[in-house]
């Protein structure tokens, strides 16, 4: 009985087509896992909707938003915070894929990924692409519900022009999660990720209030918000929804993407990597 057409020992060439097959396989698995975790999809959708339906409705009266770019008229508070909530979806998703990396490492699935003959940076980027694909699904589901709540861009084209921005912000936040996943040894640490990463990043940004309002309240806080890359992600999405490009935000998001990705590749590199210094994925056993 032979296993297939070629005998063992016959070398498989690594071709461009093979790269695509590999990327496709990683995205396919991530999507399958996502579909199996209905709870994850639901919470990814419900979380921003709670903010939109309850928080925003409650604060609509107290927080007046004056006319600031890209808005040309007064907008409802719901409309103002929608881009922030979209970025929040991607932030959660990015950190969730990093959580799944840690989980994969605990159950060993990570090792199956890393014994692939393809270069490690390629495997990590493929993971990232898979995460972005899932986050786009979540964002557009949110935008659909928001549409019926009358939270829409001024022109339906905005739904299209926001797509490249979403890919870029998804890339940045996913790469950040990836880099962070190398640092955490076990899942329990994710609770601290919530406290020390998600909340500060989200609240110290332009997601919930325009920065000029923060500036009135506290100058140091204003400076922190300004330099928070999450602010840039939010603003990039905000402008893209209104068919505009905020160049500063674009530059910051692109730059941070590169830095975070480089950090992740460094961390997972077998020669420089932190995995070896920490005693490997089984070190905790």
């Amino acid at each position: 009985m032979t296993i297939a057409t070629t005998a063992p020992g016959v070398e498989r060439r690594i071709t461009a087509g093979g790269y695509l097959v590999c990327l496709g396989g990683i995205v396919w698995r991530e999507s399958l896992r996502f579909l199996h975790q209905r709870g994850r999809f639901l919470s990814a959708l419900v979380r921003p909707l709670v903010w939109l339906f309850i928080f925003a409705a409650g604060f609509r009266a107290t927080l007046g938003v004056s006319i600031i770019p890209p808005y040309e008229t007064y907008v409802l508070y719901e409309v103002y915070i929608a881009p922030g909530l979209i970025a929040m979806i991607q932030l959660f998703n990015g950190l969730q894929s990093s959580l799944s990396m840690v989980y994969d490492r605990e159950v060993g699935a990570m090792r199956i990924l890393l014994v692939s003959p393809y270069p490690r940076w390629f495997l990590l980027v493929s993971k990232l692409v898979a995460g972005i694909a899932v986050s786009l699904l979540q964002v557009y589901a949110f935008l659909l519900v928001a549409y019926f709540w009358d939270v829409q861009p001024d022109d339906p084209i905005g739904y299209l022009t926001v797509l490249p921005a979403l890919i870029l912000t998804g890339f940045m936040l996913g790469a950040m999660g990836l880099a962070m996943s190398s640092v955490f040894k076990q899942l329990e640490n994710f609770a601290s990720v919530m406290n020390f990463v998600i909340f500060p990043m989200f609240f110290a940004s332009s997601a919930l209030y325009p920065l000029w309002r923060v500036q009135q309240a506290s100058i140091p806080l204003y400076e922190i918000c300004r330099y928070n890359p999450f602010t840039s992600a939010v603003e990039l999405i905000r402008f893209a929804l209104y068919r505009q490009i905020d160049w500063t935000s674009l530059a910051v998001v692109a730059g941070c993407s590169v830095v975070f990705l480089a950090a992740a590749i460094f961390a997972y590199d077998p020669s420089t990597g932190l995995t070896s210094r920490r005693g490997g994925p089984d070190a905790g056993k």
């Binding site: 498989r12 071709t15 890393l114």
Partner: protein, 268 residues
């Protein structure tokens, strides 16, 4: 785009499936591996025997390039894992100690994912998956979720998965952990059959000496060092002992070998 075409030189038929030369590895101050040299020829079963903490898993991590060896060389079919990882890894099939299947996905989905990681397209992957599953007598379970399988069946799926890309070297890290006696026997028989049929080289890490047969090669790893390397007969002759277990005790020193003895009793 191809990777390092110059490294695609034909492999000499004499190249062993695995050769490890002078590998030392430390975690901080702890020396996990100390000047380890060993070989696993093609078409043979090589048992890597050692207690928990002997360095088996560290050695496997280095061979699978989870992290790099800082000294010495590791070659898979002549390909240096550090210089030419793509060629080395494509010749390598691994069954890790921890379970690495996606429980929520089906058996077939797990195999297809693995095939994709090796650049094998969907149609070919499907064919290969069914052939590999037939070999471990699980083709009827292809559409079942992994969660529904028994521990022994999961292990066999992992072996089928490790064979999908037709490696020349199969690494198994304590594959019988947690299996009952019947499943253990089936698993060992299946792996031995692979060696006979495909001429694949097998490195089987274990602390259970009764998994070793007379014809096998044995490498004894103890506290990160290779204490003995040879056939079962050579090991017995050297130690002046009747069976492999006693020989193992003699080689590593009786006081240190408690874990192995206990394991033997438990499995007897």
């Amino acid at each position: 785009m191809t990777i390092a075409p110059q490294s695609r030189a034909p492999v000499a038929p004499s190249e062993p499936a695995l050769s490890v030369t002078g590998v030392t590895h430390t975690f901080g101050a702890r020396k996990a591996l100390d000047d380890v040299t060993l070989e696993a020829p093609r078409g043979a079963f090589t048992a890597l025997v050692g207690q928990n903490g002997a360095g088996k898993t560290t050695l496997f991590s280095l061979i699978t390039r989870l992290y790099d060896n800082r000294s010495g060389t590791i070659r898979v079919l002549g390909h240096d894992v550090r210089r030419d990882p793509a060629a080395a890894l494509s010749q390598l099939g691994v069954v890790f100690q921890s379970r690495t299947l996606d429980l929520e996905l089906t058996v077939l989905q797990n195999l297809l994912y693995h095939a994709a990681l090796h650049g094998i397209g969907r149609r070919e992957a499907k064919e290969r998956a069914y052939v590999a599953l037939r070999r471990v007598s699980l083709e009827g379970r292809a559409k079942d979720r992994v969660r529904a399988l028994s521990g022994g069946q999961m292990r066999r799926v992992e072996i089928a998965r490790a064979l999908l890309h037709q490696p020349s070297l199969l690494l198994l890290d304590e594959p019988t952990t947690g299996l009952d006696i019947g499943s253990r026997r089936t698993l060992i028989e299946e792996v031995r059959r692979l060696i006979d049929e495909d001429g694949i080289g097998v490195l089987w890490a274990t602390h259970l000496v009764d998994e070793i047969e007379v014809a096998d090669r044995v490498v004894v790893l103890h506290k990160g060092r290779v204490m003995a390397d040879g056939t079962v007969d050579e090991l017995r002759a050297r130690a002046g002992a009747e069976d492999v277990g006693a020989a193992f005790l003699a080689v590593v020193g009786a006081d240190d070998a408690e874990g192995v003895v206990l394991a033997r009793r438990a499995s007897a």
